[in-house]
């Protein structure tokens, strides 16, 4: 039976222009990896948006997995800019194999 451990999976929906800021915050709290995924369209409180790469209004999803402690530090560091920068931050428990890597 393979042993698994519980870690936090975090997703941040952000404008393309702010991706570096998010990944820098992830690096700063000591999380060792992240993945940036393109997304195509959506709708929020301010209306619909769609991928418009020419205008630079496209969004990305930054995904990472971290320990509870690192995840909380990342949440604390991004919380002050969630509204001003239009970010969507979610995290939840996931089971991972090789827990020492996260």
């Amino acid at each position: 039976m393979i042993e698994t451990v519980v870690r936090k999976r975090i997703e941040v929906l952000t404008d393309q222009a702010q991706v570096k800021r998010i990944t820098a915050a992830i690096d700063a709290v000591g999380i060792t990896g992240w993945t940036v995924l393109p997304v195509s369209s959506g709708k929020g409180r301010d209306g619909r948006w769609r991928e418009e790469r020419v205008m630079g209004t496209d969004k990305n999803l930054v995904v990472t997995i971290a320990s509870q402690e690192n995840a909380q530090q990342l949440a604390d560091s991004l919380a002050p800019i969630l509204t001003s920068h239009g970010l969507l931050f979610t995290m939840w428990d996931v089971e991972v194999i090789r827990g020492e890597r996260f």
Partner: protein
């Protein structure tokens, strides 16, 4: 309408734009893939930069060129000031959004310029090649002015000054336009012959497809818009009219030929929707793209393409005493 004016309005470039508008209004599923649209925008900037550089290699530089460059840079700093004042007073926008919109109206639209060049060529008044360099230098001053107005001297909420300056001076549009301009200038007409099949012969076809995409995006964004007020619509039409007159008069005043004076007018009248939105997303994330992009792309851009370029061409012909473009 005279035959020259009709010829300009019925050119494939303008008609593809109209097709995009109509397709979006009819809720057609017509789509240009985003990666292809991005590639087309890079192609157009590289091609227009190259062409400008080659024309300057042939004609050389003189005092008129320096005067045009200075006029463009000064206009880039000054236009956001009165735009900001109008947006705050008449437009009822807050400081952040007024600064962001002002930056768009001080900067330029490459595709509006390229379309105007096509139309002025049809009318017999092609602008000089150095106007491409004027265009490239007008991209950035307004971004700086808009950010200063929006932030009011404070640096809270945005990126560091170093990152901002890097974005303003080395954004993709500026690097590609000035870089291609330098390549065209260095290589000259003989060097261009090798790449002419790609950058020359295909240019108008790519411009048609790009304008089709812009028509689709402009109309769809307009239909999705929630933030526009009638006051902002008035400003989005009034600003290009005012800036077009000021730019054309400046061009005529410093002794530019009819086509170049009209091109300066079009540059002043146009509002950015590529370089400035990208900079604003980085530096002013609090500003609402539903306001600044809808104004510049969905109102000012179609107004310039369909109406204002023709008006500016006629004004330039009148001010410079050239009858070729007079309706």
């Amino acid at each position: 309408m005279d035959s020259v004016g009709l010829q300009a309005l019925t050119s494939p470039v303008v008609l593809f734009f109209v097709l995009g508008l109509l397709a979006a209004v009819a809720k057609s599923d017509l789509e240009i893939p985003e990666a292809f649209a991005k590639a087309m925008s890079l192609y157009l900037m590289a091609a227009i930069g190259l062409k400008g550089g080659i024309e300057v290699a042939e004609s050389g530089l003189d005092g008129t060129v320096l005067a045009a460059l200075a006029a463009g840079i000064i206009a880039g700093f000054i236009m956001p000031l009165y735009a900001y004042w109008l947006l705050r007073g008449f437009g009822k926008l807050d400081r952040i959004n007024a600064g962001a919109v002002a930056a768009h109206y001080g900067s330029i639209s490459v595709v509006t310029f390229v379309t105007a060049v096509e139309i002025f060529e049809i009318q017999g008044n092609p602008p000089q090649g150095y106007m491409v360099a004027v265009m490239a230098t007008m991209e950035s001053p307004a971004i700086l002015a808009g950010l200063l107005l929006a932030r009011g001297g404070s640096s809270s909420g945005g990126q560091s000054t170093k990152e901002l300056l890097h974005e303003v001076l080395f954004n993709a549009s500026v690097v590609l336009l000035l870089g291609a301009f330098a390549i065209g200038w260095i290589s000259g007409p003989s060097g261009f012959a090798d790449v002419e099949p790609f950058f020359g012969a295909m240019f108008k076809g790519v411009l048609c497809l790009f304008l089709l995409d812009m028509g689709l995006i402009a109309a769809r964004r307009m239909m999705d818009s929630r933030s526009l007020t009638w006051r902002l619509v008035v400003i989005a039409i009034g600003m290009p009219l005012l800036n077009g007159v000021i730019g054309t008069a400046m061009g005529a005043g410093i002794g530019l030929d009819t086509g170049s004076a009209a091109a300066l007018g079009v540059l002043c009248a146009s509002a950015s929707y590529i370089a400035v939105p990208a900079a604003m997303r980085l530096a002013l994330p609090e500003a609402d793209p539903g306001i600044y992009l809808t104004m510049s792309l969905s109102i000012t851009f179609p107004f310039n393409i369909l109406i204002n370029i023709g008006l500016i061409g006629a004004l330039a012909a009148m001010l410079t005493g050239d009858g070729a473009a007079t309706p």
